[in-house]
Amino acid sequence: MTLSIQEVQHVALLARLNLGEEEKEKYAEQLGSILQYADKLNELDTEGVEPLDHILPIFNVFREDKVIPGPDREEILANAPLVEEGQYRVPKII
């Protein structure tokens, strides 16, 4: 099983990954072979089986709504590639 280049392109766009032509071909093949392996799961009848998305029987964890000191803004911004006036600067969006 191999994915089509169009499928790979579509997934790469969703994943926000620029891929070169060679990479697209490589992933078409590799993803195909892993998905083919995953088809093994279809040997199992899972009709009526409750999906297990989390192992713990916990749902919501609540805490008191109390104000506590947060991290320092300058410290957080220190790791950013581009900062202006105390904010992250990014290229044009619209």
């Binding site: 620029n18 392996y37 799961l41 899972t46 192992i55 713990l56 916990i58 790791n79 590639p81």
Partner: protein
């Protein structure tokens, strides 16, 4: 014996009896690192000055905590305040966290001295540490072989006596497999036992932080420090935490041990099967009841894992977009291009592959067929374990299908590499505690035995591991990587 060769509890004793200072210990550790590190390459970052400063500070203080003055290392996926945390990825090459992960701050508060950050497969995706964006780490038992992965740096550094203990993370085997390859103790606690706050997420429903050490007592001591509820991680459960050192008793009479036939099948090297079977005989000799059982859905754990883990990873790794931290492509003209080219340049091949796979499995039209199907199979896998644990205290198996393989041997086809995880992945899928302990050698390479316990029953793992250790001497064997 030199100071660097001592275990954590032996060092505690030296410090308490004033037979050594923390400064002497830290100096001994750095001298060992200088001797072997050019060959092993376990560390991405080392902080000799910071460690020595801290050691000197502890030496003039009267108060002792459990780790006061004792050196250790952290896998480079665990945030350390003021020290680079790269995940062995170019995209985080210069990231310096402004806060500590909860496990890091607990070790710090206990008085530990952080020596440095340890190499790994990029974002914990791999089984050999060859996927590090910087350099591969080598196995101290044979420098032509891999230390396993993804926590390969942690395992190799502990095995080579560069540090007495280290933390790693385990999503599908990333503590147990390298522990097995390097002949050390590796514990992955129950999902929810240890906080994941400040640990860069790979697959959030599977990730867990754990311990590498050279003996079981050290493992129990470190687990005592890092385990327990954390208000900063809502999946870290508020459940009673025992003193794990109380399980260090050489008595397993009547303990019911199961060995699953599916974990001793074709594809597992004969030498490994024989070694673990011999260990099971040892357990019988020590008074345990050992019986064969079946975990019928075992063969489906790996394909299910390779849908669930990449799916979660594709969401978790979306945060690396060049906006708030890490590298950025400054050439891009608009923001989507900036995201896409930043990520393409910053991530390595295996990471990109898993992001693509996970994105595909979650995408419209495929979600039910792949992701949801995998979650249903995950339920069946967990049910298998639940059933065995109705009648048994512990499950024992090999940790890995082979001993450490050679560098470059498994870099072509991803599926071949994934097969390394076949005996460890089911434990993460079911959220159980698992441990790998040294149980022998095949062709002078260490073999690991995997102990699997009931949820939150790390105590029984420690008890069984300790009894085995006290009655064998595999844990005393040390590799000789040679001094430069």
């Amino acid at each position: 014996m030199d100071l660097y060769e001592l275990t954590l509890h032996e060092l505690q004793e030296k410090l308490h009896n004033k037979q050594a200072s923390s400064e002497e210990i830290v100096k001994a550790v750095f001298s060992r690192i200088k001797d072997v590190e050019t060959k092993i390459q376990a560390f991405i970052t080392l902080d000799e000055e910071g460690a020595l400063d801290k050691a000197r500070k502890y030496d003039v203080q009267d108060h002792f905590s459990s780790l006061t003055g004792i050196p250790y290392g952290l896998k480079d996926i665990i945030c350390s305040q003021g020290m680079k945390t790269t995940c062995a990825s170019k995209i985080l090459e210069n990231f310096v966290p402004f806060y500590d992960a909860t496990v890091a701050s607990r070790l710090k508060e206990a008085g530990g001295v952080l020596v440095g950050k340890l190499n790994m497969d990029e974002f914990a995706m791999g089984s050999s540490t060859e996927q590090s964006a910087f350099f591969p780490t080598r196995n101290p038992w044979d420098l032509d072989r891999v230390p396993g992965g993804s926590s390969g740096g942690s395992a190799a550094a502990v095995a080579a006596c560069e540090i007495p203990f280290a933390l790693g993370t385990d999503t599908g085997g990333s503590i147990r497999q390298p522990a097995s390859f390097c002949g050390v103790v590796g514990l992955k606690p129950t999902y929810g036992r240890v906080s994941r706050y400040g640990v860069v997420a790979y697959a959030s429903s599977l990730d867990q932080v754990g311990v590498f050490s050279r003996d079981i007592r050290d493992c129990a001591l470190v687990l005592n420090i890092i385990a327990g509820k954390d208000p900063l991680d809502s999946t870290c459960v508020d459940i009673e935490k025992p003193d794990y050192t109380e399980f260090l008793k050489d008595d397993i009479k009547g303990l019911k041990i199961a060995f699953p036939r599916e974990y001793f099948q074709e594809g597992i090297a004969q030498g490994i099967k024989d070694t673990v079977k011999k260990a099971l005989l040892k357990y019988e000799e020590l008074g345990a009841i050992v019986e064969e059982v079946s975990l019928p859905h075992s063969e489906y754990a790996l394909p299910a894992y390779y849908l669930v883990a990449p799916a979660e990873a594709s969401a978790n790794l979306a945060r690396f977009d060049g906006v708030r931290y890490g590298r950025r492509d400054f050439e891009a003209e608009n923001v989507i291009q900036m995201f896409s080219s930043t990520r393409a340049a910053g991530f390595g091949d295996e990471v990109k592959m898993r992001i693509m796979l996970g994105t595909y499995a979650l995408s419209s039209g495929y979600y039910d067929a792949y992701y949801l199907k995998a979650l249903k199979v995950r339920r069946l896998i967990k049910n298998d374990f639940d059933k065995v644990f109705e009648d048994f205290d512990l499950i024992v198996s090999p940790t890995t299908p082979t001993t450490a393989f050679k560098l470059g041997e498994q870099t072509g086809d991803p599926l071949t590499l994934y097969m390394n995880d076949i005996l460890t992945v089911p434990i993460n899928m079911a959220g159980l505690p698992g441990m790998s302990i040294p149980c022998g050698f095949v062709d002078a390479l260490p073999v690991g035995m995997q102990l699997i316990g009931k949820p939150f029953d790390e105590g029984t793992l420690i008890r069984a591991a300790y009894a085995f250790e006290q009655n064998t001497d595999y844990h005393t064997a040390k590799p000789d990587p040679g001094v430069m």
